[in-house]
């Protein structure tokens, strides 16, 4: 059987972690192999450097350290707030939220896919395009009756959208005349 260099056995050899037979075999190899001897010497130096570096680690104040552990354990055992508990204990509420978010995403995707494309030739202003996309694409007929959505930034204000019915329709006669 061909005997290869005992590379993975060098560290256990240095630590005295090999069986007598293994130790004997590695020692015999080292006598005749300058490369493995050099590796073993280098490994010993590296192990010594690591041990030296580890010894230089400064220790924390153990009283503080232990007190912090007890505080963390106490925090984990503390009862959760009623509001958090309601969310935590109510999977139905969580699923409802996820479903609502999913529906909103689907509506946005539909809005983007089914929205009218700009007609060739014309180059309407960007504001107008955005307005048409927002109003014309989805089934939001109610919104068409309210010039209040002229400013798209209002769409980010959900409170305004929720209460659109409460806004009085603006008088557009002057605009039509002009």
């Amino acid at each position: 059987m061909r005997y290869t260099h005992p590379r993975t056995e060098l560290a256990p050899y240095l630590r005295g972690d090999l069986s007598a037979a293994e130790r004997e075999r590695v020692a015999r190899h080292l006598e005749g192999c300058a490369r493995c001897r050099a590796d073993a010497d280098a490994y010993a130096a590296v192990l010594k450097a690591i041990a030296f570096e580890s010894a230089a680690i400064s220790e924390p104040d153990w009283t503080d350290y232990r007190a912090e552990i007890h505080r963390k354990i106490a925090a984990r055992r503390a009862p959760v707030s009623p509001e958090r508990a309601r969310w935590k204990l109510s999977p139905r509420l969580a699923w409802t939220s996820i479903a609502a978010a999913g529906a909103a995403v689907a509506a946005i995707v539909l809005l983007l896919m089914l929205g009218p494309r700009p007609e060739p030739g014309g180059a309407p202003p960007v504001e107008q395009l955005a307005m048409e996309d927002a109003i014309g694409a989805a089934d939001v007929g109610l919104l068409r009756d309210y010039p209040v959505v002229e400013h798209l930034d209002l769409l980010e204000n959900y409170d305004v959208i929720e209460h659109l019915d409460e806004f009085a329709p603006a008088d557009t006669t002057n605009e039509k005349r002009s």
Partner: protein, 191 residues
Amino acid sequence: MVVQSDEELCRKVAEHDAAAFEALLGRHQARAFRLACSILGSEADARDVSQDAFIRLFESAGKFDGRSRFSTWFYRIVVNLCIDHKRRNKWWRRMVSFSNPDDDPDSPPVDPPSSEPGPEAAAIGAQAGRRLRVALEGLSPAQRAAVLLQTDEDLSGREIAEILECSESTARVHIHRALAHLKKTMKEPDR
């Protein structure tokens, strides 16, 4: 007074014995912290992670089945938490470049505050330490843990294998690769 073994204390912790937990904490806090510090390379992270290991011990001491030594079981928790921590923070470390001059191999050596053992020797020592830390950063978490368990904890290959949950030959390969990488990196001249 009869000194209780770690294993006995752990069984008592499972029965919510606060004194037993304090005893285990006192016995293992320094080793857990040092091991985490060696693996993570940061005292702040080591503090958090080693404390988390004790919290795990407090909460799941009942899972210790006594088939291995308590220290093997507990250090497996520490090492696994360190490895998780390193993996979680890997992307972050890549994004953020730390401004600590100690970590910058191009920065000039820092003058030591004391003249003992001599400014030049201290600077050389600091440079070697910095090189070693940089070289350790290049190891995989398992390689780093394996070599540090051997040097810091003086554990045998079999014990390291138990902690890393691998075979003894795999643990030997981890240590060999780690040492080969460290030897090569530390030999390279400063960039």
